[in-house]
């Protein structure tokens, strides 16, 4: 029925009456999908020039953060096989 189609793709089930957990799940999904950000941003109009700059900035930031995380993870390796085993 048409009444129910609007729920498809939009539902988080509540388990054991635990509404807070379900709400957390919901928020996490919305955040991961960028929906929450988009809504917050759209409360006030964002000029196209600012939007372009923001997207470029976020792309750069993403690259930078990924690279930094990669380097840190590399340096922070602690448990790894001894490359000089046997020498």
């Amino acid at each position: 029925m048409a009444n129910h189609l609007r729920f498809v793709g939009r539902t988080v089930m509540v388990q054991n009456g635990n509404v807070e957990a379900a709400y957390g799940v919901l928020n996490r999904i919305l955040a991961q999908d960028g929906v929450a950000d988009a809504v917050r941003r759209s409360r006030y109009y964002e000029k196209p020039s600012r939007a372009r700059r923001r997207r470029a900035f976020e792309a750069c930031r993403r690259v930078y953060c990924a690279e930094m995380a990669r380097r840190i993870a590399f340096l922070a390796r602690s448990s790894r096989q001894d490359p000089w085993l046997g020498c």
Binding site: H4, F7, G9, R10, T11, V12, Q32, A38, R43
Partner: protein
């Protein structure tokens, strides 16, 4: 059940019973229901993979007060920044109760607070409970102080909430963002079985 199966086939075998966030995005992706715009990459999946919503739940055989999912009443919560409206409605849009912060006696700025939303939620729940509503599907619209509070605190007035459908962008134009949001409601689906949580 009895829902129209215009998108019929259920791929129950292809889809595991426990549906996680990945499925969620899949579902959001490839179904173009009236008004939903297709999303991102997953929107390109084949048209054969359509899902009949009611078939899933018939297969699940979950019941609330003996009602199938489609017949559980709905609590609409509209949480704006200045106010929170709550209306409990049956599945065929027969109204049960309607409250807002203003009907609870708050005025002006105080309506846009979480406490006011909490009061409104409890009042709505009590009224609906008086009409025999025990289980509710919660549809949340908007980002405001009453968003979480309204959803949670209906419980204290006497409802058991059973699922939440968030629709944060109440005024987001339908084709605007990459999330392809509807004008009125935009949500994510996740049916979690009893044994599976979302990590």
């Amino acid at each position: 059940g009895g829902a129209e199966r215009d998108r019929a086939e259920v791929r129950a075998e292809a889809r595991p019973r426990r549906e996680g966030a990945a499925i969620c995005r899949l579902l959001r992706g490839f179904i173009a229901f009236g008004g939903f715009s297709a999303e991102g990459g997953e929107g390109a999946t084949s048209l054969n993979q359509k899902l009949s919503f009611s078939s899933i739940l018939q297969r699940n055989s979950m019941r609330w007060d003996g009602k199938v999912y489609e017949e559980v009443p709905i609590a609409h919560i509209k949480a704006t920044y200045n106010n929170t409206h709550i209306q409990v409605v049956s599945f065929d849009n027969q109204p049960f109760s309607r409250t807002s912060c203003g009907t609870e006696g708050f005025q002006n700025a105080k309506k846009g607070t979480a406490i006011a939303a909490q009061t409104a939620a409890m009042a709505a729940a009590v009224k609906a409970r008086g009409k025999g509503v025990l289980h509710v599907r919660v549809m949340v619209k908007g980002l405001g102080p009453g968003r979480k509070v309204g959803a949670d605190d209906g419980r204290f007035g006497g409802h058991l909430h059973h699922r939440q459908q968030p629709s944060p962008p109440q005024r987001l134009p339908p084709t605007e963002s990459q999330e392809s949001v509807r004008g009125s409601a935009r949500d994510t689906q996740l049916s979690t079985s009893v044994h599976q949580g979302l990590s």
